[in-house]
């Protein structure tokens, strides 16, 4: 208890802190040739057929790969032949491709991957993409044949499917395989380290068959909070971050940050869960679609980084402009609700058979834009007499099938079949199948049009059916579309080689050509 001793300890502690402080100044000198990406969430696993992550593009490659224009181009496939009846495809693979563990990538691996997707035991979310596959046959080590049940144009799109190494699953169940946390692919980067709760490190794969990566390491730092992502981008702790629209103005002021405002096919909307009988009457869904002030949302919440949405294919070539766009119309909404039997009472809310017009919009709490949209929309619904609550929950606490309505986000820049069939076809209900039709939306006309669109080989015919699909979907809405959201990325200004293309959901695919990126200062 000697005071001098205590003082001594105190001083030494202060020194320690001082040393730490000095160390700080020394640190930036050694700039690593690595890229730190602020990832919005941590992954449950890295198996690309069980879960979609934005690491897939780095770790894995498929037979085909989307280019700058989101067109599939041959990658692992060297060439292919198509039979005249458009049912049989013969693929020839490149022979120089090796997985990260050195094993060669052969036809066996491709067949194994597609079979795994189709295997019910694995419950792959990609299964619907390959339902038309009749059979797979190995011809040679680097050659195989794929037979379709019916002609299916988007098959080349689907074959961008990441290829898994068959030998990594010998005698193990895919769902519980060690592979899921230590993946082996044939992409430009290989797995290095996964520091759970913290970060995932990938390192450049020296035997990559394409452009050799220039950046030695890509690190995915898991930062669920958008605020923290922006903050760390500002302070230089991360190099790339997807920004919330409101953050852009402030980060633009930082000299070292370059802003990429990239068009996406990524829309937000309210999913009506048809399990809730409130939505059985189409007029109710239409009313709630009318009562959204999209212009204000784009202006106030998205700060102009986006546009009003009314169709899932708005960013697609098959885009139909002549459908109902549900521009803001409270009167119309009120009229529809009156017709549907929901009458306004003295308290300002509508009732039908003593049931109050009330539901909850569930939204993931970590996504500020969605929360804001939900709050704004819910508040706006008061004007049509609906008592709408917002439940902002953690992603993993959400079971979309159990919500009344969900603030959904989807979108795909690829083939029109992509992210339409799996979302709106009644066979894809997530309750009965492994699809993404979370609201159990069911419309025979939509089903027929989607099937026609996917099976038709004629471009014109496909366009016609997707145009009709959009119209039918607008009349019998599964979602109340709100807005397309631009992906606004903040990137360290010294990175070169970023190629923009229309991105998918949540700006996914931004890293699609990361092997071509490089630091111009290291």
């Amino acid at each position: 208890m000697d005071k001098r001793k205590i003082l001594l300890v105190l001083i030494s502690m202060l020194l320690l802190v001082a040393v730490a402080g000095c160390g700080k100044k020394a640190a930036p000198a050694a700039k690593e040739n690595s890229l730190i990406y602020a990832s919005e969430s941590e992954f449950d696993g890295l198996n690309p057929i069980l879960e979609e992550t934005n690491v897939d593009a780095l770790l894995f490659r498929g037979l085909f790969r989307f280019d700058e224009n989101n067109e599939p181009k041959a990658d692992i496939a060297e060439s292919f032949d198509m039979s005249d009846d458009k049912l049989t495809y013969t693929f020839k693979l490149r022979e120089d491709i090796r997985f990260h563990d050195g094993e060669p990538l052969t036809a066996d691996d491709v067949i194994f991957t597609i079979e795994s997707v189709l295997d019910d035991k694995n419950a792959s979310f990609l299964k619907s993409d390959f339902l038309e596959v009749e059979s797979l046959k190995k011809i040679e080590d680097y050659k195989f044949e794929l037979k379709l049940k019916r002609p299916f144009t988007p098959i080349l799109d689907k074959l961008t499917l990441p290829i898994l190494p068959k030998h990594a699953f010998n005698g193990v169940e895919m769902r519980t395989a060690d592979f899921n946390s230590h993946p082996i692919g044939a992409g430009p980067y290989e797995f290095d380290r996964w520091d759970r709760g913290n970060s995932l490190t990938l390192k450049a794969y020296e035997h990559f068959h394409g452009t050799k990566p220039s950046i030695a390491k890509v690190i995915f730092k898991f930062i669920p909070d958008s605020n923290v992502r922006a903050l760390q981008l500002a302070s230089g702790e991360v190099d790339i971050a997807l920004l919330d629209p409101v953050q852009v103005g402030e980060l633009e002021k930082r000299n070292h940050v370059k802003i990429y405002n990239i068009d996406t096919a990524d829309y937000r909307g309210i999913l009506f869960n048809m399990q809730n009988d409130l939505w059985q009457d189409v007029r109710v869904r239409q009313a709630f679609s009318y009562a959204i002030d999209r212009v204000q949302i784009v202006k106030g919440i998205l700060k102009g980084f986006g546009e009003e949405a009314y169709s899932p294919l708005q960013k697609h070539a098959f885009h139909n402009e002549d459908i109902e766009t549900y521009s803001y119309d409270i009167e119309q909404a009120g009229k529809l609700l009156d017709e549907a039997g929901w009458k306004k009472a003295d308290d300002g809310f509508r009732y039908k058979d003593d049931r109050k017009l009330s539901f909850t919009i569930t939204t993931p709490a970590s996504d500020a834009v969605r929360v804001n949209m939900a709050n704004y929309v819910a508040e706006g619904y008061k004007s049509i007499g609906a008592d709408v609550n917002v439940a902002a929950l953690d992603w993993s606490a959400i079971t979309i099938e159990e919500t009344d309505a969900f603030m959904i986000g989807w979108g795909s820049p690829y083939d029109a079949d992509h992210h339409t069939y799996i979302l709106f076809h009644s066979d894809e209900s997530s309750l009965t199948g492994s699809g993404y039709n979370f609201g159990s939306y069911s419309n025979e006309k939509v089903d027929a049009l989607l099937e026609k669109g996917r099976l038709s080989m004629d471009e014109k015919e496909r366009q016609a059916s997707y145009m009709a699909f959009q119209e039918e979907l607008a009349n019998d809405p599964a979602f109340a579309f709100i807005a397309y959201v631009n992906a606004v990325y903040g990137i360290h200004g010294n990175i070169e080689g970023v190629k923009e293309r229309t991105l998918g959901h949540h700006g996914s695919g931004f890293l699609w050509n990361v092997e071509e990126w490089k630091w111009n200062d290291r």
Binding site: I6, L16, V19, D44, I219, K221, L231, S396, T399
Partner: protein, 323 residues
């Protein structure tokens, strides 16, 4: 220190852990229909039926709660805390990854709090009427009224965003192996927040007990008889220390609770952050494990404090206040 005494303390600690586990288990599993999802967690949709059955069987989910608790307790005693519902990895290994960080933050901030509060409290208590003496209680109340996370936000914006001298969050830098220095840099802000919001409280407590001791009868008797002031102080400190230690023990739980928030704010990947996360994702096995580990840390800290008190306080040693 007798073996009996140590044994008794340990029994008490074990009892504390038992009660904690019992209550937490029942809180978490008593709600209708939650026990199954408790184990499936966010994976409920993706799990196959076979897996669900396997889990149900392993955790006796179809049996009464008390049997489930029994199963859980049996596994836990054997060192198996189960598997995280969310990550699918053993809870023990997840906790193991987090523990060092928590102990680091807890240890370092506790260390500075103790050093700082002893120094402040002694100086202030020994000099009645001085500026420090008068200012300390106001500082103490004020500093303990600031929500730690609020101070944390201000710190982040000052030191990380505006000045850019310290990393805003996390446990260590990525990309480069900053090692020790890097760790310290990341530690400075969270630890400072914890220390600043607590040190006043402890300092003031010590100050008051020093003051109380100085005003006590035996000090008067010693002073009246011209006993050396240094000798008096030594005795005073020893006595003032016993209630201080006791206070430390009493407040360790809430102190620990406070650092949960600081961890979450600074994305300090320790137990606190893990607990918050497992609440959000309803990962009950992980949450149970986290609670038990927290309980263990608290129990061990309390034990350490008890041992210290035991050596300092002869009354305790002589069994006057045993029990």
């Amino acid at each position: 220190m007798t073996v009996k005494w140590i044994g008794k303390r340990m029994m008490l600690g074990a009892l504390v852990l038992f009660i904690v586990s019992f209550l937490s288990f029942f809180i978490m599993h008593a709600s209708p229909g939650s026990s199954a999802t408790a184990y499936y967690g966010g994976n409920a949709q993706t799990l196959t039926t076979a897996e669900k059955e396997r889990i149900s069987e392993a955790f006796a989910l179809d049996r009464p709660l008390i049997v489930q608790y029994g199963a859980w307790l049996k596994q836990t005693v054997q060192g198996n805390l189960g598997v995280s519902a969310k990550e699918g990895r053993p809870v023990a290994s997840i906790l193991g990854e987090r523990l060092p960080n928590t102990l680091l933050l807890f240890g370092v901030s506790m260390f500075f709090i103790i050093i700082g509060s002893i120094w402040l409290g002694m100086t202030a208590g020994m000099r009645p009427g001085s500026l420090l003496d008068r200012g300390l209680s106001a500082f103490s109340i004020a500093s303990s009224s600031i929500p730690a996370f609020w101070l944390g936000i201000l710190f982040i914006y000052l030191f990380a965003v505006t000045l850019g001298v310290l990393p805003s969050s996390g446990t260590g830098s990525l990309g480069g192996d900053g090692g020790f220095v890097d760790k310290i840099k990341h530690l400075i802000m969270p630890a400072s927040v914890v220390v600043l919001t607590h040190v006043g409280l402890y300092a003031r407590f010590l100050q008051e007990s020093v003051k109380a001791e100085i005003g006590s009868y035996y000090v008067m008797a010693a002073r009246a008889n011209g006993v050396e002031e240094r000798e008096i102080r030594r005795g005073v400190l020893r006595n003032a220390f016993i209630p201080y230690l006791n206070y430390l023990g009493v407040t360790i739980p809430s102190f620990f609770g406070g650092s949960v928030i600081v961890e979450a704010l600074f994305a300090w990947s320790g137990l606190g952050q893990l607990l918050v996360k497992s609440v959000m994702v309803k990962d009950y096995p992980l949450l149970m494990g986290g609670i038990m580990l927290t309980g263990l840390i608290v129990v061990v800290s309390l034990f350490a404090i008890d041992v210290l008190m035991y050596t300092l306080d002869p009354k305790l040693r002589k069994g006057e206040l045993g029990g």
